[in-house]
Amino acid sequence: MRFSIKKRTQFIISYLLMCLTALIIFSSCYKDNSDQIVQRTTTTKQFKLAELLEALNLNNSNLKETVVEVQGVVEDVNYLNNRSTIILSEKGQTDVLAICDIQENQSLLLENLKQGQVIKIKGILKGSLKDVILLNCLITN
């Protein structure tokens, strides 16, 4: 009798553990993985900021939602709305900007950035309003 209670408890515990594992796997599968997509993507189209804007103006919709690498001049680094953002400009053209929302693991690199520094950023190209918008960005160079 005692053995059967022990066995039943073991069964319930292992059943609960299985459910918990399944739940963890299920929720991790459906968590937004855009950061990982950018990290894993090694071959990307490379642009200077002005070229990217021109490509978007030509309604090149193939580029949207893809990982691209863009080169520009650091205009500003800010932490508005608890997000880390780099504003890039084109050399000699401060009216052409890119707003790059940076991944959380880039904080050390962000601290060392200087205004006017030329850098490359890799991220998911979302499109443009007045400025080009990239999300889930990584500083590559």
Binding site: Y30, K31, D32, N33, S34, K64, E65, N78, L80, N81, R83, T85, I87, L97, I99, D101, K126, G127, L129, K130, D131, I133, L135
Partner: protein, 183 residues
């Protein structure tokens, strides 16, 4: 005499230069978030790249945002939002054009005003009146507020199977921090 005239002109230019207020202010990283509360699940998404320009002279305001820049906690929510509900391929932007009623840009500190205008989303335009708080901290303007909007007003089709997961009325919050804009 000629020298005096020159000095007077110079003084006027300097005076105008220093007292000149910007006519327009811009916010490139406006925050717009929405919440859907149901007993089945809560859905929250945030857009931190909304663009807005205010004309300080007449209080006219314009907002534009890319629908695919909303960030969701779960990939599946983002997929459903962009592909099934908002159809961001077909309707990539949402825009708002309106006027801040009785807006006085010279008032320092806080003022609560009604913004009246048209929200265009998913190809459907709706007139809105939104109560907003405007802060003026030495020429740095912050606009914030909350409003509720109905999903059915924007011709968004939700399959009956998922109807319980999405609230009929969505709460929208916004906050824009502006800086002088010269175009």
């Amino acid at each position: 005499m000629r020298m005096n005239k020159f000095l007077l002109t110079l003084l006027l230019i300097i005076n105008f230069g220093f007292n000149e207020k910007p006519e327009q202010v811009i916010s490139r990283q406006g925050k717009v978030s929405f919440f859907s509360y149901t007993s089945v699940e809560n859905i929250k998404a945030e857009n931190n790249q909304a663009l807005s320009i205010i004309n300080l002279e007449d209080g006219s305001i314009a907002v534009s945002m890319l629908m695919n820049t909303f960030v969701f906690e779960k990939a599946l929510m983002k997929e459903h939002f962009n592909e099934s509900y908002i159809e961001s391929d077909i309707y990539p932007k949402a825009t708002f054009e309106g006027r801040i009623l009785k807006f006085d840009s010279s008032i320092k500190g806080e003022q609560t005003r009604i913004i009246k205008g048209t929200l265009l989303m998913h190809g459907v335009s709706n007139e809105l009146e939104i109560k907003s708080k405007i802060e003026n901290n030495d020429g740095k303007y912050i606009l914030s507020g909350t409003f509720e909007t109905l999903v059915k007003d924007y011709n968004i089709n939700i399959p009956p199977l998922l109807a319980g997961n999405i609230a009929k009325s969505i709460e929208v919050n916004f906050k824009f921090e502006y800086e002088p804009y010269e175009n």
